[in-house]
Amino acid sequence: MIYIYAAFIILAVFFAVLRGLLGPTTSDRVVALDNLTTISTAGLVLLGFVFQRFIYIDVSLIYGVLSFVGVLTIARYLEGGL
């Protein structure tokens, strides 16, 4: 079961990184980064479940809360509002 999850997550990371490298405009790469952080949030929860450590979930919580602020700042910069 864990092999299927790992395979899908690796494929997802692969496609996101490919778009981040190829993307013609800046927004494409920012979308890829946003996608990468969301995949990481889910993946960290899954890894914490595999390791069976309750306290590791805190890292994922902070990830889910803070990762959008960086993307929001870049978006505000593109908008010209910063």
């Binding site: 306290i55 805190d58 890292v59 809360v65 929001l72």
Partner: protein, 226 residues
């Protein structure tokens, strides 16, 4: 010619670093100082998280130095960017969706930061991380609202009080115990919130100090006219 020299240097450095890495015994059990720390942190300091125990209890004086370095960095940045006229941030307002949701999510981020530094001796994290999280929450309000302001005087008062608390706890250890930052409070039961002696007090002080410093730094950075 220069490229040949560079490649030769790279080969030499690479050889020695690989040699060093191969000599480290990965995958074996913990030994030496690490074993001592892992076995005796709960007995000696009462903290469940041994990283916190090392950072605050065994190496508490180093942490005081790190806090001082951060304070100096924030002060230096403020001195470089000092400008009498630059009182306003040159922001446009964000859209309604961003404004409303950042108003909702900002107290939650502040609460999360407080949770991280209060539970420093039980879960991963501590004062520095909690302070950084609180500063990020304030920055969310900065980039969403043009008119959101922080009180600079209150920030410096919080910062000074937190620093003084740290040093006072250290001197209390020197007076009632044997050395600077000696633990003088009872340990309590390991794993509970009120345990581990002075470690939570120090981490609360560090959290307030780092949060206030980083907030003031970001405010200075956003406010200057280019």
């Amino acid at each position: 010619m220069r490229k040949v020299i560079a490649i030769l240097l790279l080969i030499i450095i690479g050889y020695y670093s690989i040699d060093t890495i191969l000599k480290i015994p990965f995958g074996e059990g913990v030994k030496g100082v690490g074993k001592h720390y892992l076995e005796s942190t709960i007995k000696e300091t009462g903290a469940v998280n041994s990283v916190t125990a090392i950072v605050v209890s065994y190496r508490g004086f180093d942490t005081l130095g790190e806090v001082t370095v951060l304070f100096l960095a924030a002060t230096g940045l403020g001195a470089i960017l000092y400008d009498k006229k630059g009182k306003k941030r040159s922001l446009q307002n964000a859209s309604l969706i961003v404004k409303t949701s950042s108003k909702i999510i900002y107290p939650l981020i502040a609460l999360l930061g407080a949770y991280v530094f209060v539970h420093g001796h039980l879960t991963p994290g501590g004062g520095f991380q909690g302070g950084a999280i609180i500063a990020t929450g304030v920055l969310l309000m900065f980039i969403s609202y043009r008119s959101f302001e922080t009180n600079h005087k209150a920030l410096s008062i919080i910062e000074s009080l937190a620093g003084m608390t740290f040093v006072t706890i250290g001197f209390a250890g020197l007076i009632y115990g044997t050395s600077f930052l000696q633990n003088i409070l009872p340990f309590g039961i390991p794993g509970e919130l009120f345990s581990a002696g002075i470690i939570p007090l120090i981490y609360v002080a560090v959290g307030f100090k780092v949060g206030a410093e980083l907030t003031a730094l970001l405010d200075n950075l956003l406010k200057t006219i280019k």
